[in-house]
Symmetry: D2
Subunit: 261 residues, 4 copies
């Protein structure tokens, strides 16, 4: 029953300056809550809808920027990994390796992350029941790594829509590892823009409040100083004002529900 | 931003004595919260899975028992109606007429309830998007009745399962009428027992906490002194101990979130 | 393994003249296939999305028109019923009473239809697993009526969309009663037009071909001489040219698959 | 409107002898249909539910076996690929590279396959609308490769179940590339066995008949001489007797529907 942790950052590193500036702004906002804050970063968006979409600075340049971000802010980092060979390199700078939802069943990727000894945050696939995460956990544990986090980010609900099943958070809690709710990917509308993923950022704080009321370990979200011009996932990213309001409200809820016996 | 209202009762009237006893027990539990309490009753379960299942005392005997319950407890009543001709009779004793989810699109039933002048609580069909409730509202408003409540009770999610989409509560709030969350029907497993509906009562308080965190008007649930021997909907009914704990927790959450600007 | 039966007609009776004219045209088209044809009629659309939508001529006038249609065409009739008290009256003229999908769980309606002794065609609810139809069948059989037909018309698939699960036809066949595929309601887009149901009529023959390949008893569809100006369900109704092509193709498929051992 | 193509093989290479024996048996069965047959092989199942499950002989040994299978049978091969670096090697022996459904959005894998110049068969993700495959096609076309096949293998339908939306086959046909229906993965029950995927092989021929009635390019399926003892995907694999009956029936349907104008 530790205080709610926040994991946040831009969807993708747009540039060194943009990323570091945003990291500082988020740190300032989050500092007011006195809750732990883990900075989120992606050096490559490997599954963009369109082949023409911006993917990020790539691994080498990305890790360089992340090293600076860590030095500048003093924050721990959560970074996503898409292929097994990247795990070791990313683990040099990341505190938590994150496995994207589409890839949560790729055994080699899961094992490569586990082998680094870093904490591994697995996003539950949109196609997966919460109970099925048990087998993913066993894959990580099979390498002697017990630093595991499980993230809910919505389940397929017909075409072009996701639904968050709040039962999932409770069911995953039974595995004994921290459960995180990803508030902004959960409000994506996959394929809604034809050549890009749509979304509804107004609903992200709504779902985050609901999830927080269950007494979870943390909330993940993407934020951007100007989401309508973000290079990725703009429609579902929070702006900084929404961020400030949301985290304040979530902390208030968290404080109440963590007292429940 | 009024305090959370509770609507609760047994799924069906099992007998006069059983119903009145349970009503008194629920009143005592709810009284500790100082939140408003509306007693729920069903005189007939018109859509049981099996033709052999107990349906209730019927309209005439049912209304007699409800009249006694009202006199005994002083509580307002919410009662479900299944055919248009029942509306007027039920409105003699019920404060709120409730339209079952499967029937939310039956125009004649909706209009008959509206015509009584009583408040009408419409349960959103498991097959309906929250935005589609606008047309149901217009049906009621077309008769000059603006005492409308909207209830979320889960959406079809594959076969034999329901998922609660918390976005639905927020979307329905935009219509300007009180939004209720039905915690126990939402955890039904339709058809899971072959000749009866299954369910998981442990998850009802979980979903209720999530819903309450959105700042809704009320929570509906079915409770029973001995749910494993209830004549209807036992698997998803709360026992009295769970009821006491849940309402206490929901009030705590409600108090926090209703302060949010 | 009898030849495929067709059930078709306009969604609702728009006027006596329109209905009788269309019935004659459909009869002429269907006659070329030499397959049995059952004329479909609705005197009242009791669950229109909007309170302002056209509902039909009503029971008394509707039955009068249906009596004329029967005399004029010599075709058997399938007619939907929405409340128990209507069953007996509709059974005076209809050969098959049809229970709408939303209402397939309403025990009193099912029993009232069963009691007429007429054949009863139950549309499987959009919220129901095919296996769950066993309990509906038992309700009808409990009245000594074994003239039962089961119709698939799509299952809820997220919001505003239906998916046809072809497994459902095979699973329902196991109950030993004729299984019908409703090709045009299956391509509805519930609520897609805001105040009305949308649909995609181009996909109706596609799904009908798939269903027919399973060796089913019949195909149901709505057709209209001018679907873009139909008073109900226009977006998913076939025009007469599409009808002619579709039934020709379905008969060809039916002939092949009914020979399979 | 070329004759239906079959793609079939065991789920995974269990051993050299087992694979070659089964390939010969399948070739003999398929030869009777005179329809084209492409042999399916997997050297590694990279996304097994359990970390303890058998994965296959691996890339090097697998390609060796596939080379022998090709020499022995003279059949073209379709082989799945899971990471970008494998594409070039697999293309040495495979005629078609296949992208697993979970990985259909991984841009680097799609591009690596496209770059080999081989035909690329993309399985549509269980989380993807058929229209969204347009963007995947554009990724492949961006490398000048227009040898593309699209495969339907079911969509997420609640938890632990897949539904095949037959509309998907028709919608994907509009892209102008051959559309394949994967009959056996479509009847998987993901996670149904706890530590393994369940399935219902009896329904695979049912869905295959429905799909074939739409006039598609091919049907993919997994077959095994003894599916109850298969090392992977046994519950949804066909035995050889079912295979013989199914392909005979599908050819009969294909012949009829490919004549439709």
């Amino acid at each position: 029953n530790l205080p709610l942790v926040f994991m946040a950052g831009t969807c993708v590193i747009e540039s060194e300056k943009h990323y570091l500036d945003t990291a500082k702004k988020l740190k300032a906002i989050l500092a007011k809550t006195k809750h732990p804050f883990i900075l989120k970063a992606s050096f490559d968006k490997a599954n963009r809808t369109s082949v023409d979409a911006y993917r990020g600075p790539g691994l080498a340049k990305g890790l360089e920027i992340l090293t600076k971000a860590k030095a500048l802010t003093g924050l721990p980092l959560v970074v996503d990994v898409h292929e097994p060979w990247q795990a070791e390199e990313v683990a040099q700078v990341a505190d938590i390796l994150q496995i994207p939802a589409f890839l949560c069943r790729q055994t080699d990727l899961v094992l490569a992350c586990a082998d680094t000894g870093r904490a591994v945050n697995v996003k539950k696939g949109q196609f997966l029941a919460p109970g099925a995460m048990e087998q993913v956990i066993k894959k990580i544990e099979s390498r002697g790594n017990h630093k595991i986090l499980l993230t809910e980010r919505g389940a397929s609900f017909g075409y072009g829509d996701l639904v968050v099943d709040m039962r999932s958070l409770e069911i995953m809690k039974q595995f004994g590892y921290p459960v995180i709710f990803d508030a902004t990917h959960s409000v994506q509308k996959p394929g809604a823009l034809g050549c890009a993923t749509g979304g509804n950022r107004q609903l992200a704080p709504v779902l985050a409040k609901a999830a927080t009321a269950l007494g979870i370990a943390g909330v993940f979200f993407e934020a951007h100083p100007d989401p309508d011009h973000a290079l990725s996932d703009g429609p579902n990213s929070l702006n900084l004002e929404m961020t400030a309001q949301m985290v304040r409200q979530l902390c208030a809820i968290d404080q109440v529900v963590k007292k429940f016996k």
